[in-house]
């Protein structure tokens, strides 16, 4: 489509030609003529015409939002093992679905080879999925951008979900943007909070943020998803909406949302989705998938994390941190400063550009507390900071602060660790 010139009204003044950013208009016999190949429907010429001789191009077709229903979760699996974040998202998706309406379902979408995903369908149901869409094909055995994008796009077009959630994993963050571009819809990256009802958004904002909620109406019944995420290295939080296109899509940070209790007896529907994929659709070849031989750090699942920073003074400080972590049954973490200094591998890094964690106890040892570090750990249940510098920002978020030499303090904590119960009992008497 393009703009239309009403020939009878055109006076040949050429104002529209000057207004056109795309050289799509020219004069033929003193009347403006549109080159439809060049016109982009920008309508820049319309108000410039003093004679009402230009009819605006029709607005792009509005998306019928009501045609889209239900909450989908991309149930990411690798080698037949479901990712924890997928189960967290099924839990969260269920909460959101019920905020939309009673008959809104949460649906898990499993993509992979039949033998890998068939056993996972019931697991998704046990964790709260009302329905499971199974998209199986031998070509989908391993994740490829091309293959997964093709089949999920087809499924979205057929079933029209209202919301699609993905874990913000290395796969989810490769996959979701591709889908968003292909479906011409919005995508919000790495969300840490989702709300449907304005009332629950207000409740969240009041409890956790400095946001002035007086401009929000708790009785607002709109059900667009409000996606909250950190930006500028966690210095700022932004809530993003996607008002005009569907599905609304988010990638969600692993470890943030709540899994539901597993219910082995839960019932749900399993739908086999037909695939239409061929070898030619996939333009890369996976030669090998290697599990890292390096020490497996599962910071996201750890109950206790012992993290070291630049205050350790030198790389050997991590030996003490390791000893500490071994004693308390924790995992070794680090600040970005320690990683940048080359003292420890990036896989240990906690923070905005590393891993986001929320253990029961976070020991920050010799970590000053740069904002980008705080962004990745400040939701830990209990934060213990040990630092020589009493003014270090880490003490602002710490539940327990110890101003002192970590090389003296940590060995004492290790020595007394097993006596904790006795010490506590003695203190209450």
């Amino acid at each position: 489509m393009a703009i239309k010139i009403i020939k009878e009204k055109c006076k040949g003044c050429t104002l529209c030609i000057k207004a056109c950013p795309f050289d799509a208009l020219k004069m033929v016999d003193k009347v403006a003529v549109v080159d439809e190949g060049k016109c982009t429907n920008c309508n820049a010429c319309v108000p410039k015409c003093n004679f009402g001789a230009i009819e605006a191009a029709p607005e792009a077709e509005e998306v019928d939002l009501s045609a889209y229903k239900h909450v989908w979760v991309f149930a990411e699996q690798r080698h037949g093992k479901i990712m924890n974040v997928a189960l967290e998202l099924i839990g969260e998706g269920r909460r959101l679905a019920k905020e939309i309406s009673d008959d809104t379902e949460v649906c898990a979408v499993l993509i992979g080879a039949e033998e890998d995903i068939a056993p996972l369908a019931q697991e998704c149901i046990a964790y709260g999925a009302d329905k499971v869409y199974k998209i199986a094909d031998p070509l989908l055995k391993n994740y490829t951008t091309d293959g997964y994008t093709k089949v999920l796009e087809d499924a979205i077009k057929e079933y029209k979900p209202e919301i699609v959630l993905y874990g913000a994993t290395h796969i989810g963050r490769d996959f979701a943007p591709r889908i968003a571009a292909r479906c011409n819809t919005g995508l919000t990256a790495d969300c840490t909070r989702l709300d449907v009802r304005v009332s629950s958004y207000i409740e969240f904002a009041k409890k956790n943020t400095t946001l002035d909620t007086s401009t929000l109406d708790p009785n607002d019944t709109s059900t667009g998803i409000k996606q909250t995420r950190p930006a500028f290295g966690g210095n700022l939080m932004a809530t993003i909406v996607c008002p005009r296109t569907r599905p609304q899509m988010s990638t969600v940070r692993p470890g943030v949302m709540q899994k539901r209790e597993k219910d082995e007896n839960a019932k749900g529907e399993i739908v086999d989705v037909k695939t239409n994929i061929s070898k030619d659709d996939i333009h890369i070849e996976i030669v090998d998938i290697v599990k890292s031989a390096k020490e497996l750090v599962s910071l996201t699942d750890a109950d206790i994390i012992c993290s070291g920073g630049r205050g350790l003074g030198d790389p050997s400080g991590f030996e003490l941190i390791k000893k500490f972590a071994d004693k308390v049954g924790g995992v070794v973490g680090s600040s970005r400063a320690a990683v940048d200094a080359g003292w420890i591998d990036h896989s240990h890094q906690v923070g905005q550009t590393g891993t986001t964690v929320k253990p029961k106890i976070y020991f920050a040892c010799g970590i000053s507390g740069a904002i980008q570090h705080l962004a990745g750990m400040q939701t830990s249940d209990i934060i213990v900071a040990i630092n020589k510098d009493a003014d270090a920002p880490i003490f602002e978020v710490a539940d327990y602060g110890i101003v002192g030499d970590l090389y003296k303090v940590i060995p004492e904590i290790i020595a007394e660790w097993d006596n904790a119960e006795a010490l506590y009992d003695a203190s209450t008497k």
Binding site: T145, H170, R173, A180, L211, G404
Partner: protein, 264 residues
């Protein structure tokens, strides 16, 4: 025929030095230096390494931003890129990742021929990691993100990369033309050279008209996502500083506290 690489780069505020005004809860951007986004520097470095090996390689850096983003192009050229293109127009301001990728798509199409597009995985101001894949999709290119090792065969067609995963990596083969996004493990970016700093700079600025982008697909209005609200996180309530005569005292107090909260 010379191998042609396009590098997408972004000028960003250094988020490590950003401070919050505690009274207003807003970002203090004054005096915050603008820098070449880290991952993008890794993308450029990898392109430069190809050029080290095959000197007739041509590297074009494309950036989108206000006129001051020319500084970034100068820096990239001083590092060794051949030319820099700034796409700058009020019409593309306020774009989200979808709209940004439409703008970059148009700019890449205007550049024309290329064999490879390198971008950083994500920019430190937004941390979305979405523009690379979205640009690849618009251009119909295959992609590999999180590239931590790169190798190109002598035929300048077959590329092998190592793609980082949370718990390991994948080895992937891909052919040009394609889009790759770099992470910092890929390399260590070089410094600018003196000759590069003082040398002539092949730089252009294009506006929306130059790149012939559909104005209905760029800018704030066209973006499918909008900012609903923005705010600063609430500071956590202040805890207690443990004090005692000896480290042992303090350690004991800590353990009593932790036990009392039932976390150990």
């Amino acid at each position: 025929m010379a191998f042609k690489i396009i590098v997408c780069a972004k000028q960003v505020p250094d988020t490590n030095v950003i401070k919050i005004n505690p009274k207003t809860g807003t970002l203090i951007r004054d005096g915050v230096p603008s820098i070449l986004n880290h991952d993008d520097a890794n993308a450029l470095e990898e392109a430069l390494k190809i050029k080290d090996q095959y000197p007739d390689t041509h590297i074009t850096v494309i950036t989108m931003g206000p006129p001051q983003a020319n500084d970034l192009l100068m820096e990239c050229i001083a590092m060794g890129a051949d030319e820099g293109i700034l796409v700058s127009d009020r019409a593309v301001g306020g774009s989200d990742t979808w709209a940004t990728s439409n703008t970059l798509e148009a700019a890449v199409r205007k550049v024309g021929d290329f064999d490879l597009i390198f971008a950083g995985r994500q920019a430190i101001d937004g941390d979305t990691a979405q523009v690379g894949p979205q640009l690849a999709e618009k251009l119909g290119l295959p992609q590999v993100t999180y590239v931590q090792e790169f190798e190109i065969a002598e035929n300048m067609k077959d590329i092998t990369v190592k793609r980082a995963l949370e718990d390991g990596y994948e080895i992937i083969k891909i052919k040009t033309p394609c889009m790759l996004t770099a992470i910092k493990e890929l390399n260590t970016p070089r410094y600018m050279t003196i000759a590069g700093i003082y040398g002539e700079k092949n730089m252009k600025t294009w506006n929306a008209k130059d790149i012939e982008v559909d104005l209905n697909k760029v800018g704030l209005e066209a973006s499918p996502t909008n900012v609903f609200r923005s705010f600063t996180p609430a500071p956590k309530g202040k805890g207690v500083i443990l004090e005692g005569d000896t480290e042992k005292d303090v350690a004991k107090q800590l353990l009593i506290g932790l036990k009392g909260k039932h976390v150990i």
